[in-house]
Symmetry: C2
Subunit: 119 residues, 2 copies
Amino acid sequence: MSKQKIAVQVAGGCCAPISEAALDAEGAAEGAAVFKALADPIRLRLMSMIASADGESCVCDLTPPFDVSGPTISHHLRVLREAGLVDCERRGTWVYYWPVRERLQWISALLATPASASA
Amino acid sequence: MSKQKIAVQVAGGCCAPISEAALDAEGAAEGAAVFKALADPIRLRLMSMIASADGESCVCDLTPPFDVSGPTISHHLRVLREAGLVDCERRGTWVYYWPVRERLQWISALLATPASASA
């Protein structure tokens, strides 16, 4: 496998995949911040509910599956939004969330590793 | 896009991609534990150095780029190993690390989202 050291600017974030080139300190800080947002089981589950929904997800549907308070869910959703993974809009009583697919594609591509390189 | 709710067991870890199906509590715990290992800038940089290397990486080469002590680097490498992302072998004075590509493929696939679904 050729190992081209290319510093590609990927849509949604920085840096070439880690299997192609080592991250510099700046790229590592950006990536680590997004992984930190996903490093909590409730947040990762919320992210998966929003990413797998057909269309937008109402916070009124995202809260009931969890044994935590509404404000706790809102806090977790804010962390996902600050990491650029979801966006939202308030309409009337409720806030509606949708995934930022470009950001998910970026963070997925950052970890992608060629199947052919598998041991 | 069809949204098949399939609970695929992916090599290297659990669960279908989050864009296909919401994670259950168990899958979210497994994924979040791996993201936690990647949620530190030094660990993510170490992971990228190991993943992009041709062959194994000696801990003697992984330590100098960082402004932290050898034991701190060893701690971070242990966290990556406990998350299943790297493996290692001691030979003589040094420990040598390599990426577990199956695990990286799994965590990358977990976040994969179809380009066609991009807004």
